[in-house]
Amino acid sequence: MNEFSVVLENVSKIFTEEGKHEIVAVDGVSLTIRKGEIFTLVGPDGAGKTTMIRMMCGVIPPSQGSIEVTGLRMDFHLSEIKTRIGYLAQRFSLYGDLTVDENIDFFAEIHKVRDYERRKLELLDFMRLSPFRGRLAERLSGGMKQKLALACTLIHTPQIIFLDEPTTGVDPVSRRDFWKILSSVLRSGISIVMATPYLDEAERSSRVALINEGKILMCDTPEHVKASFPLNVMEIVCEDPRKAMGLLKGGKGFQSIELFGDRLHIVFDSAKAAMEETLENLRTLGVPATGRTISPSLEDVFISKISR
């Protein structure tokens, strides 16, 4: 058995519109996603996340390169692959005028699943949607719609699911709930590939690929990505962080200074510990402060990589 869920080899996607320049949406990407992973594609709008997911789901063909999903080659086994995967698109398509139950039935039927009644009850229970089976989908809250869409994606018991920005616009309580459900999905042996613009979500995944302009900048566990960051990061706490920011901003030696309500977050432009010096500077300028070295966030790494 193949231990990989998805293998991309040198995959590109070039869109051509009549009379316009070619757009290279995905540019020579190689990538392997293992079984049992939550794998996150993270990057800005237009980085190519959705195009990558669509190619992995066989919705659009690559212009170049090869794609394997669950050990099968996409160009030979597209219809078999489609039975093995689930795809939750960015604007997921529930039928507002069908009930919760009817939506699931509909998806079961288009996937030609037989005897899905037990699976349906399991999923409804799992998503805590059982009390709402008869409710029209359009009358569900945002978080509930999202869970119903996920149930529809799972009805045919896929081996791997692809989620395109599933939590955009969802509130924190529903988001945490959604992540609980994802960890149960993972436990049932289903691999998860998701695209997100949010780096705090990427922190929760097994491995993360940082994507910009159709290329993978880096692909590793969140810990390794952060550990690879060569620069020094420091947090400064003082009475008046805005004043401190104003004093430091023009100075040399910083890659970025970010202001938070009651503190500053500084990324130095070298690995050299300039912390004492910075604190001393602030003290001389009349802003006594305390500081400590902190580990970089994924956001620090990402912003530093793409602003180069």
């Binding site: 800005p44 616009g169 436990r187 922190e203 929760r204």
Partner: protein, 316 residues
């Protein structure tokens, strides 16, 4: 009734209540927002955030109680309130089939800016949004980050002292979000009061003060640091182990476990009533045959605060 004007506050909310038939959307809310402050107004969907903001913007009359915004009573003098605030919604309210410049002119017209001032503010907005050379571009061709900055420019074209931003960063990428917060800080440093709602709690860390609402009531109020101290009674730990999903399952049934949440090859567990939670976790996982690589105490995130305070409310 609010008699006094309080000069150091941009927003003073006293007993603000809104009912729709039998449903109380906003329930006896009290809080104050200082001038020039960045105030984060957080809560799950349906908590009453939008209803509160609509009342504070003079768009909806309170049922009882009231609020002063920029010195005007939102119930008695909503038109004066509307004139001194800026409002930007998550849908950005831009016309996609108009150019950047036409959108700015449209908003200038709504705010009644005279010609010379409009020209001046138009240049300012284009510069601020980083749209120099793109004044003639159709708005629909702009990326999310640009649209967002243009929408902010339009919302504050008339230089209001108070600006309401309702989920301004939904679906916007990390670099644009960081730029956007730089703009918000610049506004606030220049004295503008910023009242912002967001679902992203890493963003709420940028606020000076946060109000958390749930079921129409204010359940917590303070700086991000103060709010985190509310969780001192819970100890939160990060556990790194080979199989976090099984380990979470194993702990979930323990009475001292409040919450578990997956983070890649680790998970976070929040505990209550334990002297030495690290030891309890280690021995429970060992007993169940799950090897542990590392356990360490971590400070709560604002998301932890949010989830815990809401769970406590639900228990009551």
């Amino acid at each position: 009734m609010i008699q006094e004007r309080n000069d150091s506050y941009a927003v003073v909310v006293e007993g603000l209540t809104k009912t729709f038939g039998p449903f109380t959307a906003v329930d006896d809310m009290h809080f104050k927002v200082r001038k020039g402050e960045i105030f984060g107004f957080l809560g799950p969907n349906g908590a009453g955030k939008s209803t509160t903001i609509r009342m504070l913007c003079g768009l909806l009359a309170p049922t009882t109680g009231g609020a002063m915004v920029g010195g005007y009573d939102v119930g008695k003098d909503p038109d004066s309130v509307k004139a001194i605030i800026g409002y930007m919604s998550q849908r950005f309210s831009l016309y996609d089939d108009l150019t950047v410049e036409q959108n700015i002119r449209f908003y200038g017209g709504i705010y009644g800016l005279p010609g010379s001032r409009l020209e001046e503010r138009k240049s300012w907005a284009i510069e601020m949004a980083g749209l120099k050379g793109k004044a003639g571009s159709l708005t629909r061709t702009l990326s999310g980050g640009w649209k967002q900055r243009l929408a902010l420019g339009c919302a504050i074209l008339h230089e209001p002292p108070i600006v309401f931003l309702d989920e301004p960063t939904g679906g916007v990428d990390p670099v644009s979000r960081r730029n956007f917060w730089d703009l918000i800080y610049a506004l606030s440093s220049a004295g503008t009061t910023v009242f912002v709602t967001t679902h992203y709690l890493d963003e709420a860390e940028h606020c000076n003060t946060i109000g958390l609402i749930y079921s129409g009531r204010l359940i917590a109020f303070g700086s991000p640091t103060e709010l985190k101290h509310k969780l001192d009674q819970y100890k939160i730990l990060e556990v790194v182990c080979g199989n976090p999903v099984d380990a979470m399952d194993a702990l979930q049934t323990q009475p001292w476990v409040v919450e578990t949440s997956i983070f890649g090859s680790a998970f976070h567990v929040s505990t209550t009533g334990l002297q030495d939670p690290e030891e309890s976790i280690r021995s429970e996982l060992t007993r169940q045959g799950i090897p542990v690589d590392r356990i360490e105490g971590i400070p709560p995130s604002l998301e932890d605060v949010f989830i815990h305070l809401i769970a406590e409310e639900d228990k009551q």
